[in-house]
């Protein structure tokens, strides 16, 4: 019996797990035990899929584990058809994605929603090529909402973070309404250009198999612009009051979204895993007061943990352009998933 998990540097990792290498599989088993009324697994894979598949385009998403409730918590009627779970913070492999695609297709094709990371893009691309060889229609939408990262030919481009969940919800609604694959793809491609996110961290995330935080922040430090895998951000600073964090994030996000003369927006305040809900609301209060400076109407909001980074403390703010009311309707539509 190994009662404690010695990490590097002999630090003990405080987690309720059995063994670092078993976390993903045991979590998956736990999910299937808990939600077998409407979800099932696919043998020999780490795919979680709806039991009851409507004859519509199937939305498949996924990525590394560690972002729970993303993505399995969003599988169900009106959102995703299947989620593919990779190793912790590591994209799933093409064969697993392929199984999810095959099982999700009802003859209407499959839409992949992929977060923009080199690994995810390549693995989903390979799966798409394999599925096409099996004559399944597949399209994909790439989400790259994280404006902390420069988008240029000299980088891998912006990352996909919490805004991905809004893409799941909006496209999931239209798929559920019977929209065709091509139309979903065009709608999705336009949508992702209207979603922008910025995150801050107060501490790094600890991958169980690594055993120590991905980065270390000093006792009075925070970092602006972190990614959801412990990617470093654009600035390290002393810990600031919520009001100032709200000011910095809304400022950057609004200047991005106002390039399109936006009149209506939606907000997503996303906890990164270990942040109390009370802090998300304190922060939301500051965001709203900050937004009084802008001539925009807030027509949608969502506050909670949606795209986490294991046990990171911090949050992200997502702003989505909602001038097209159809998007808002899609966001507000009832849905049969666990964690929306």
């Amino acid at each position: 019996m190994v009662p404690v998990f010695k990490a590097k540097e002999d630090k003990i990792m405080k987690k309720i797990i059995n063994h670092p290498s078993q976390v993903v599989d045991e979590m998956l088993k736990g999910m299937l035990y808990a939600h077998s009324d409407f979800l099932e697994g696919i043998d020999e894979t780490r795919v979680i899929i709806e039991k009851d598949k409507q004859p519509t385009v199937g939305l498949v998403s996924g990525g590394g584990s560690g972002h729970e409730p993303a993505h399995a918590g969003f599988v169900g009627e009106g959102m995703l058809r299947a989620a593919v779970l990779g190793e912790m913070f590591t994209s799933p492999t093409p064969d697993q994605i392929l199984e999810a695609i095959k099982a999700s297709d009802t003859g209407h094709g499959v839409l992949l929603i992929v977060k923009n990371y080199t690994g995810d893009v390549m693995n989903f691309d390979m799966a798409k090529e394999m599925a096409e060889m099996e004559d399944i229609q597949v399209a994909s939408v790439l989400v790259d909402d994280d404006i902390a990262v420069e988008d240029s030919t000299y980088t891998a481009g912006k990352r996909g973070v919490a805004g991905t969940v809004l893409v799941h919800k909006i496209l999931g609604h239209f798929a559920h309404e019977g929209m065709a694959l091509n139309d979903l793809k065009s709608l999705g491609d336009a949508l992702v250009t209207d979603i922008h996110t910025l995150g801050v961290a107060l501490s790094g995330a600890t991958v169980p198999e690594v055993g120590k935080p991905g980065f270390h922040l000093g006792e009075s430090e925070m970092e602006y612009g972190v990614g959801i895998h412990g990617e470093p951000g654009y600035r390290r600073d002393t810990l600031k009051p919520s009001r100032e964090i709200a000011k910095e994030l809304t400022g950057k996000l609004m200047s991005e979204i106002m390039t399109k003369k936006t009149k209506k927006i939606g907000l997503l305040v996303n906890g990164l895993g270990a942040t109390p809900l009370q802090e998300l609301y304190v922060f939301y209060n500051d965001v709203i007061e900050e937004l009084a400076k802008y001539d925009v109407e807030i027509v949608f909001n969502k506050i909670g943990d949606f795209m986490t980074s294991i046990d990171m403390t911090g949050l992200s703010l997502t702003v989505i352009r909602l001038d097209d009311d159809k998007r808002t309707v899609a966001l507000e539509a009832p849905v049969g998933v666990l964690n929306w």
Partner: protein
């Protein structure tokens, strides 16, 4: 020089041993400019390669390379899985026509470039593979040449993959994929070229 099936198998088993030995080092390198999983990704993948290869009693070059590709593609994930996987898949396809080592590795490099769209100087595994292909063309691949190629990634600024997010801060660090590729080619030198 020809890559026989037996040599191919020996090469990849040696590669597996090197990866397992340096697993923690590879992850540490990745921690510095990426997300710290390159060691465990490659360890998981090469272990699967070993399992697949040990099942092959009479190794045949294309089959060995294909089995390696399948294992890497289905077990690694992340960025390195599709890249190494595509490399070995291209090598396996090429091996049906030729088993010349230079041509095989060149095909592998093409696989990586096609999949990852990276070029020499982007601070990726390509920066190990490209000089190796050149050295093989001149029949001059040595451990020194490999080390030189790997070390040359240090001063580069990453333009592809996760390391590109840290921008300037990637300068001065070795690229983990370049290092793991270095082990691949040292294993090649040891098992095939010497």
């Amino acid at each position: 020089m020809e890559l026989t099936g037996d040599k191919a198998k020996a090469w990849l088993l040696n590669f597996e041993a090197k990866i397992q030995e340096h697993k923690a080092y590879l992850s540490d390198l990745d921690q510095a400019i990426g997300d710290g999983d390159h060691g465990s990704n490659m360890a998981r993948g090469t272990e699967a390669v070993k399992v697949n290869l040990e099942k092959i009693a009479e190794p045949e070059t294309a089959e060995v390379l294909k089995q390696a590709a399948m294992a890497l593609i289905s077990k690694v994930g992340g960025a390195s899985g599709p890249l190494y996987g595509s490399a070995f898949m291209q090598m396996a396809k090429t091996a049906k026509e030729t088993t010349d080592i230079h041509e095989l590795i060149e095909a592998g490099l093409e696989g990586i470039k096609h999949r990852g769209k990276a070029d020499v100087g982007d601070k990726t595994m390509v920066d190990t593979w490209a000089p190796v292909v050149e050295a093989l063309a001149k029949d001059a691949l040595t451990n020194e040449a490999i080390t030189q190629a790997v070390d040359a990634t240090k001063p580069l600024k990453a333009k592809k993959g996760r390391a590109s997010y840290v921008g300037e801060r990637s300068i001065g660090a070795l690229d983990p994929g370049a290092v793991s590729s270095g082990y691949l080619f040292t294993a090649l030198v040891e098992e095939v070229l010497q």
